[in-house]
């Protein structure tokens, strides 16, 4: 009897607690009114100019900020806060016509002066968003609804940047308050509910009642939970507590599929493969010979890598520009089909029949399969690789500093010109040996100063030359994956790392 007296309250407690637990985690019950997502990192800063160009933090910013331009379903710039835009004949002034009747959530009117304040503030920032504005000389507020962005020289990737983090608009008053990094005041579909949010853990956004584009944001509330443990995130999704999370690896994607969750894949604008930095042969003489770089390209079996290493989350390619970009040339695919015979012949012609050695950064803790695939392919043509340990935060600095002749790498870009500015131009961040080539220089000039069909033609010529000269040994254009509950429909945009917030809607 005594045991029964103990057991009954204990069972009641468990049932009460579990009943409340179900209610506490009731993401499923809220479907349609609250969108509950997970992401791997909290927002670093809401300050315009401090953000990355894109990535897992996008949802925080997209909830509160509008961008000057948006992206259409194909990843092309479309009307956002600016309803119309056009360049002058020299491509050095971008004129924007602004949407009227829009206000920030602090009541401040959105106008040309707000655009000027934001862009000039963002340009001084220390994030990638600021880097996207590097050609901006000054911004001129012509009248309340017209702005001229005057450039130091043409920037074919500016409109793509303004449709991403470089185009976020914060209230001009926010810049004077001193808490701009943590207290966003945008014109966006939601406003941050600071009282219900816990920094670094959960961010709750409630609807901005007067939002001008409500139709694309059907949820009354958005909750974003920071979960850097993907198993925990997957459990939350399976239990109905959350409705979406990025699928960062093939294991997670396979696990999600087995669990009956929806996996949406899309080209996320990231090119990956072996970046052959040392095209001059400063560090490793052999890489200065185009025949060696071509041999390396022939050594990779791209289809097998995509299938076995990436679990299908990629599209094998021989070129660095994605298929949705004007620089892409289908005829270049297969330029370096897997052919060890050709590779060995080229190595012998270059005087490296016995191969050579390289020291590369050890990425095996993060990319074990990619590194194994690279090692095996290089070994197959006699290139012996020695790996040097490196910590995660030293990777980029050491690459930029010219420490490595090559390494496995991935790079995301908003447009072909953005990629060129990142990894091809002589002063590009990821051209660590500052390699220049007269033909490339001439093509870059043409791309920068032309537009339309002439620009597309020059981009294709540049692409063909980069492939011919084997500046890179690309493997694939990554396929991003997003895992979601059956209650949610997810519509990604090609070239964007994470489906935008406007791409989420109730499945029914």
């Amino acid at each position: 009897m005594r045991r029964l007296l103990v057991a009954v309250p204990a069972a009641a407690l468990v049932l009460t607690v579990s009943a409340c637990g179900g209610a506490a985690g009731g993401g499923g019950a809220n479907a349609g009114s609250t969108l509950s997502l997970a992401t791997v990192t909290p927002p670093k800063s809401f300050e315009p100019g401090a953000m990355a160009m894109g990535g897992p933090e996008d949802h925080y910013y997209q909830a509160v900020y509008d961008t000057l331009l948006k992206l259409d379903a194909y990843g092309r710039p479309a009307a956002g806060l600016a309803t119309n835009w056009n360049y002058d004949a020299a491509n050095t002034t971008l004129s924007l016509t602004l949407r009227s009747g829009v206000t920030f959530t602090d009541g401040t009117k959105f106008d040309a002066e707000a655009v000027r304040t934001n862009l000039e503030h963002a340009k001084k920032g220390t994030g990638e968003a600021a880097n996207a504005l590097k050609f901006v000389d000054h911004v001129k507020a012509v009248d309340p609804t017209h702005v001229d962005i005057v450039l130091t020289s043409p920037d074919p990737s500016l409109t793509a940047g303004l449709a991403r983090s470089a185009g976020y608009m914060d209230s001009p008053k926010a810049f004077t308050r001193g808490d701009v990094a943590t207290r966003p005041v945008g014109t966006g579909p939601y406003r941050l509910d600071a009282k219900r949010s816990t920094a670094g853990d959960t961010y709750v956004f409630t609807r901005n009642a007067g939002y001008w584009d409500k139709i694309h944001y059907p949820y009354k509330e958005v909750s974003i939970k920071v979960l850097d443990d993907t198993t925990a995130a997957l459990n939350a999704l399976r239990s109905g507590q959350l409705q979406g999370m990025p699928g960062p690896s093939k294991d997670i994607v396979e696990g999600a599929r087995k669990a009956g969750l929806t996996v949406t894949t899309f080209e996320n604008g990231t090119m990956e493969g072996v970046f052959l930095w040392d095209r001059k042969g400063n560090n490793t003489k052999a890489l200065g010979d185009v025949r060696v770089r071509r041999a390396i390209n022939y050594a990779f079996d791209r289809e097998a890598i995509v299938k076995n290493v990436k679990g299908g989350l990629g599209t094998a390619t021989d070129q660095v520009f994605g298929s949705s970009t004007p620089a892409y040339d289908k005829s270049l695919e297969g330029a370096y089909g897997h052919d060890l015979g050709k590779a060995e012949k080229l190595m012998a012609e270059a005087g490296y029949a016995q191969g050579f050695s390289m020291t590369l950064p050890d990425f095996s803790p993060v990319y074990p399969n990619e590194q194994a695939a690279m090692t095996e392919a290089l070994k197959s043509i006699g290139i012996k690789v020695t790996y040097q340990p490196i910590t995660g935060d030293q990777v980029v600095g050491s690459i930029i500093g010219g420490k490595w002749p090559a390494n496995f790498f991935s790079l995301t870009s908003s447009s072909p010109w953005a990629f060129i500015q990142l990894a091809v131009a002589p002063g590009a961040t990821f051209n660590p040996f500052h390699v220049s080539d007269p033909k490339i220089a001439a093509l870059l000039k043409t791309v920068q100063q032309s537009s339309g069909a002439a620009q597309d033609k020059a981009l294709k010529q540049l692409n063909a030359y980069l492939v011919d000269q084997a500046w890179f040994a690309p493997w694939d254009v990554q396929k991003g994956a997003y895992v979601s509950a059956k209650t949610v429909k997810v519509t990604p945009i090609p070239g964007i790392a994470v489906p935008p917030l406007s791409g989420f809607s109730p499945a029914s």
């Binding site: 637990g21 209610a23 220390t126 994030g127 853990d201 443990d229 995130a233 459990n235 399976r238 990142l422």
Partner: protein, 313 residues
């Protein structure tokens, strides 16, 4: 007793200072580049230099240390480099999560392990064998594995508990209990095994003492002999082990917090350390060391109350 407490308190303060100083210099000489990580992969070299200047990383390490220390003694632990939030706020938000978890696990450990330890010692025979076998298994199984199984069965499959997240006690006590139930059980399993074994051992020793035999021969009820006399004498050993387990549980919570998506001290510490968020790492270290010092002090006080000989020592 006052002198004893003052000595312990003084030693505790020295410990906080030494560990914070060591942490500062260890995190400052790693050669890592948080400025690059914050600015982003595609940021230019000039932007990274500007970020480094903004964070004060271009100043000599000793200047940075004295600056940090002078603010820390006034209760200002700085601002997180990666979230731009005050460190005191971030730690203050994480502390209730970890304390809820660790205190619940400690209460669970104390309650279950004392019952198991006493039952095993008193009953002996097959009951003792079974309980000892269970203890060995519980001790051997990693707590994160227990956590994952609990999450999968009770949260994902049966939907009885939330799979991730923490609910503050003040707003929703039942939700709070639901959010910490599974993590606490996962965290407590190993500790229960350890403390139960210690309780069993010390109870067997005490029950063999002459005074227990005398009490029994005088006809005192078994319950009174066990709970009033034997358990009180066996308690100091169990309490010492329990206090050590409390500190171990703070460490164990790091993994459990990850499994259940709880943003406690452990989860904050691991992400801050992996990012190179030095101000946050330092803040967490200081608060954790203070916590350990306070717990040790409380245990000393309780032990002194239970056994006056401890105070003299």
């Amino acid at each position: 007793m006052s002198l004893f407490l003052l000595r312990r308190l003084g030693a505790g303060l020295v410990l906080v200072f030494v560990i914070a100083t060591a942490t500062f210099f260890l995190t400052s000489v790693t050669g890592s580049d948080p400025a690059r990580r914050i600015a982003g992969t595609q940021a230019s070299a000039a932007q990274v230099i500007a970020k480094r200047h903004e964070l004060g990383l271009d100043r000599p390490v000793l200047t940075r240390y004295t600056d940090w220390l002078s603010h820390a003694v006034r209760g200002d632990l700085g601002t997180s480099w990666f979230s731009n939030q005050p460190v005191t706020g971030l730690v203050g938000q994480a502390l209730p999560v970890s304390l809820s978890l660790v205190l619940a696990a400690t209460v669970l450990t104390a309650a279950v392990s004392i019952v198991l330890g006493v039952v095993a010692a008193v009953r002996g025979g097959w009951v003792d064998h079974v309980l000892q076998s269970i203890s060995i298994v519980a001790f051997a199984v990693p707590n994160f594995l227990v956590g994952m199984v609990l999450a999968l069965l009770l949260a994902v499959e049966l939907g009885l508990f939330p799979a991730v997240g923490y609910v503050p006690l003040a707003g929703d006590p039942a939700g709070w209990l639901a959010s910490i139930t599974l993590p606490s059980i996962a965290l407590a399993v190993g500790a229960i095994a350890t403390v139960a074994s210690q309780t069993r051992g010390s109870m067997i020793d005490v029950l063999r003492q002459d005074y227990v035999r005398t009490l029994r021969s005088r006809g005192l009820p078994v319950r009174s002999v066990l709970l009033k006399h034997a358990l009180r004498n066996a308690a100091p050993t169990s309490l010492t082990v329990l206090s050590l387990q409390f500190i171990a549980l703070i460490g164990g919570a790091v993994v459990i917090e990850k499994v259940f998506g709880l943003t406690g001290i452990g989860a904050r510490a691991t992400s801050a350390a992996s990012q190179g968020d030095v101000p946050l790492v330092l803040g967490i270290v200081v608060v954790t060391v203070v916590l350990v010092v306070v717990v040790n002090l409380l245990v000393d006080v309780v032990l002194g109350w239970l056994n006056p000989k401890v105070r003299i020592a």
